[in-house]
């Protein structure tokens, strides 16, 4: 049997099994997209419930306790289970192709990372059906999270711990891939910006997730195993949690927004037909933002009482981040300046991103002024600010990226017409929802309030905000319809569908062969595909003769390792309860599954397989493309 044919036609169950066991970065990307998209819808529904509750004063659409669960799950889901995996989807789908690699460095670990994230997310969301979701906010400040009754916070701590392992593995994997697996000629300063931002974001993951892991372990031990890290009565300290959380939490913002910057840095040159303006300063700014991102966490804690010296230092450090971010904004504008702009849907998102994100950026600088932040902090001004950054930056990036990379991932093109409807609804809704919230905050509305009383001048603004949210929801519904119609029609659009593709991922046949590049391409400069096209060529110059390609085997082990931790988490959570003697055995069985699967992986030789040169040549003659 040909080694290529083995990857062809399958039945429905065969497809399911393929995705459960796949180690191919392109299929893992689709898994991330599906799972992240699902959690994005869940988080969106939670957002709608928040806005319905706050549409009018004294509303009782949801109860006070339930409201706190909804806001907690909205924040946690959107950050950890929607934004991160959706970005991971694009990193997986695009980055290896952009640098001319056959896969990521550790395909097995890549699959393991996905399944850990997935089981962590499922575990967290099961809290809705098993006695109540976490209710201490996505920041889960220690005094409140220790006081919280039920198992909500346990679901939060264990679920994030499991999915956090996955994210950490993903980050390390991308780092190793970018350092080691670039195609011949792909020097660091020829890497596309999306690869660069993936690289820096992965480095941030490497340094930012360990503090979260430590903090979560302390929380787990405090709540389930009787320790007292945060328990003041036992000599603990709750402020430590705030530091741990924000030493992770602030870089996390950049982990999310830098890849979104990367996506826009790909979209602008493509549709302006002009190379990125100031490439090297863009790279420099990206690295600098990543570095400074670790120096500013305490600006989330200006009102904690750290004293004027700490507050002043962190205020000035925070302001400094505005400089590299400003460099980026001006470089993007200068990229389209003098270009030939085609307004496709991805370009519309990129264009809308600039003013939206600038709005979020400038309020960020305003908050850096510590004494002013004493007023802004924990008010709706903050809610407006971070939604301008996250929706105006990251979500616009994800939506633009989804339209831009859809042909690469699925070989089809989302409808431009429906895409434009989504764009208008979403953008109008976004500004309608969040712009007014700046003023609500300034007028004295604290954040995370379940309801507000009449006669405080807050009613009109909240109603406008809720109406805006409905527009955003409509936009997303149109997007879903668009996706279903597009996939149903399944019109394959072929290679380089945007016609102005500049980087390596557009040089590869569509649908992308499972081994990616038959011959690794020779990279001759920035925007390698564009360089070849300008010289009248249609293909990249190969850097090697056709030869055997070494491929990894599929494996079910990542799924099993993750499942084991998922099972163990239930044991850990329930062991402190009265009369639940089964809990400790469940914890042990879960760990046995995980470590057993790891042992199996370690002792069983799996050398993968080779695609033979003859098959590759046969395929080329047969013209499978």
């Amino acid at each position: 049997m040909s080694t290529i044919a083995h990857a062809q036609k399958r039945g429905f169950t065969g497809t399911i099994w393929e995705y459960l066991t796949t180690v191919d970065h392109k299929k893992i990307a689709i898994l991330y997209l599906l799972a992240g998209g699902f959690f994005f819808i869940v988080g969106g529904i939670e957002a709608m419930m928040i806005r319905i509750q706050l549409a009018v004063p004294n509303n009782d659409f949801v109860s006070a306790g339930l409201f706190n669960e909804i806001i907690t799950m909205h924040g946690t889901t959107m950050i950890f289970l929607a934004a991160m995996p959706l970005l991971f989807a694009f990193m997986n789908a695009v980055m290896p192709l952009q640098i001319g690699a056959r896969d990521v460095a550790f395909p097995f670990v890549n699959a393991l990372g996905f399944w850990l994230f997935f089981f962590g997310g499922v575990f967290l969301n099961l809290s809705w059906f098993l006695g109540g979701a976490p209710d201490a906010g996505w920041t889960s400040y220690a005094s409140l999270s220790l006081a919280s009754e039920g198992h909500g916070i346990d679901f939060y701590a264990l679920g994030l711990q499991i999915s956090g392992f996955g994210t950490l593995m993903g980050g390390i994997n991308f780092l190793v891939t970018i350092i080691n697996m670039r195609a011949p000629g792909m020097t660091y300063m020829r890497m596309p910006l999306f690869t660069w931002t993936t690289f820096v974001a992965s480095a941030l993951i490497l340094f930012a997730f360990p503090p979260l892991t430590v903090g979560l372990f302390m929380l787990i031990f405090d709540r389930m195993f009787g320790s007292g890290f945060f328990d003041v009565a036992m000599g603990g300290n709750t402020i430590i949690w705030e530091h741990f959380f924000w030493i992770f939490g602030h870089p996390e913002v950049y982990i999310l927004v830098l890849p979104a910057f990367g996506i826009f840095s790909e979209i602008f040159p493509t549709f302006a037909r002009k190379r990125l303006f100031g490439y090297s300063s863009m790279v420099f700014a990206t690295v600098l933002i990543g570095f400074l991102g670790f120096m500013v966490w305490a600006h989330h804690m200006f009102t904690t009482g750290l004293g004027p010296v700490a507050n002043a230092i962190f205020a000035v450090a925070t302001m400094a981040i505005a400089v590299p971010t400003g460099i980026k904004i001006f470089n993007w504008i200068l990229t389209i300046w003098g270009g030939s702009i085609k307004f496709t849907v991805p370009m519309l998102y990129a264009v809308a991103f600039i003013p939206s994100f600038v709005m979020g950026g400038v309020t960020g600088v305003m908050q850096a002024a510590a004494p002013a932040d004493y007023q802004f902090h924990d008010s709706y001004f903050i809610v407006a600010h971070f939604h301008y950054v996250i929706v105006g930056g990251i979500v616009l990036g994800l939506l633009g990226g989804a339209h831009f990379y859809w042909p690469l991932m699925f070989g089809t093109m989302l409808s431009e017409k429906l895409g434009k409807i989504t764009f208008v609804l979403f953008l109008v809704g976004f500004h309608l929802t969040f712009f007014i919230q700046h003023f609500l905050g300034l007028m004295g509305m604290p954040r995370r309030v379940w309801t507000f009383l009449e006669g405080q001048g807050l009613a009109t603004g909240n109603l406008i905000s809720s109406i805006g949210a409905a527009f955003m929801a409509l936009g997303i519904i149109v997007l879903l319809v668009n996706i279903v119609i597009t996939q149903k029609k399944n019109i394959q659009v072929g290679r380089d569908p945007w016609e102005d593709g500049r980087t390596l991922e557009w040089a590869i046949p569509s649908p992308v062969p499972f081994y990616n590049f038959k011959q690794l391409p020779l990279v001759r400069g920035l925007d390698p595909f564009w360089i070849e096209k300008m010289e009248g060529k249609t293909d990249m110059t190969p850097a090697e003769p056709v030869g055997d390609i070494h491929m990894p085997n599929n494996s079910f082990v990542p799924f099993v390792i993750s499942l084991g931790l998922f099972v163990a988490a239930f044991g850990a959570m329930y062991h402190a309860d009265e009369g639940k003697d089964w809990a400790i055995p469940v914890l042990i069985i879960g760990m046995l599954i995980t470590f057993g699967a790891m042992l199996y992986r370690s002792v069983k030789d799996d050398h993968g397989y080779h695609i033979h040169k003859e098959d590759l040549l046969d395929e080329a003659e047969g013209g499978t493309r």
Partner: protein, 361 residues
């Protein structure tokens, strides 16, 4: 499409102007109507940063709009634009200018940070342990606030009373979970931590206080549980002379005054019920000698003169009875629910009559 975008920007701007013209929120609540020096400092900094940032937004928007409008691709245009690598001059310009703007913002920021943190006056103790400064100890509890005046030896709750035209210093902490003490109109917030005391000062101008009918709203600004949204308090900012009168009247509510039976027979019955069911948590004298940990419920001395029941309900007998019958319905998760058994309608009437007799004379 570009038209639409330009329209949308205009629309946002118009919305902003409309908001500015329609006012800045309510004077008793809004940070945009600062009531005193601390609020004014924050407000000035907010305005400075806002105008710098509005300038930035305008410059970026103009550049952006020109780029988007001018460089559209015409139908069928296949020309390839010049591939510009970058420009050192431009890049230096847009690095230096932001740095200058940030320095302009950073200097007043640092100065104000130290100014607002200056609570040295609290530490200057007289021989008897009092201070010349006006000090209030704030203790935040699950959904209620305690205000202790160490110099005046008064404890009260829910309604903070402060003199105008002088700095008021606060020691703040929490007794259960973290809260945050915020009087938006008077100035910035400070967290009430569970492990340490934070200090802050605020000031209320006499004139500004008069504009707000001498009454400001206070809020809890840190998520603390189901009733976080309902953890409001009120601030009476009174001229010094009236404040002194209030202090004298409050000090007069001593044990003797509190034990005297009210004239109204219903209220007297209510006092009996209160003493049996409520007194173990709620004190009715302002000089409560019990340690903090024992003061597990709001001090009710002078209850009849408060602004709201439980911080949120209208202050009348009807709402008081509703509250006593089922506190959990109005403040979910509060610590009072279920601690005193069922009350009959008659008992409710009597208790309400008693509580409404607790006046500051």
């Amino acid at each position: 499409m570009k038209k639409k975008l330009a329209n949308w920007r205009l629309f946002t701007f118009m919305g902003l102007m409309a908001l500015l013209l329609s006012g800045c929120g309510e004077p008793f609540l809004s940070t945009l109507t600062p009531a005193g020096e601390a609020g004014q400092t924050a407000y000035d900094l907010m305005m400075l940063s806002t105008w710098i940032m509005v300038g930035v937004v305008i410059v970026v928007s103009i550049l952006f709009a020109v780029a988007v409008l001018k460089f559209r691709r015409k139908k069928g245009d296949t020309t390839i634009p010049k591939q510009v690598e970058g420009s050192h001059v431009l890049e230096i310009v847009w690095t230096i200018i932001p740095i200058i703007l940030l320095i302009i913002l950073a200097i007043p920021t640092v100065l104000a940070t130290f100014d607002l943190a200056d609570t040295k006056a609290m530490d200057k103790k007289n021989e008897d342990g009092t201070t010349d400064a006006m000090v209030v100890n704030v203790r935040a509890n699950l959904y209620w606030w305690e205000f202790e005046y160490p110099n005046q030896k008064i404890i009260t709750s829910q309604d903070l009373v402060v003199p105008t035209d002088q700095k008021v210093y606060f020691n703040v902490k929490a007794s259960d979970v973290k809260h945050s003490f915020w009087i938006p109109a008077a100035g910035g917030k400070i967290d009430t931590n569970v492990e340490n005391v934070n200090q802050i000062w605020l000031e209320f101008d006499n004139e500004k206080a008069a504009e707000a009918d001498n009454l400001f709203y206070g809020k809890c600004a840190e998520l603390c549980g189901p009733s976080h949204a309902l953890m409001d308090f009120k601030v009476h900012a009174l001229p010094k002379s009236e404040f002194d009168q209030w202090v004298t009247a409050m000090q007069a509510i001593d044990a003797k005054a509190a034990e005297a039976a009210p004239e109204d027979p219903a209220a007297a019955e209510g006092q009996e019920i209160f003493n049996q069911k409520c007194l173990s948590c709620h004190a009715v004298t302002t000089a409560d000698a019990r340690p903090e940990a024992a003061r597990t419920a709001p001090n009710l001395a002078g209850f009849a003169d408060r602004e709201r029941i439980a911080g949120v309900l209208e202050h009348n007998e009807e709402e008081l009875k509703n509250w006593l019958a089922d506190p959990g319905q109005y403040k979910p998760g509060n610590k009072m629910t279920g601690t005193y058994g069922e009350l009959s309608d008659q008992e409710l009437d009597q208790l309400a009559a008693y509580l409404m007799s607790l006046k500051v004379e």
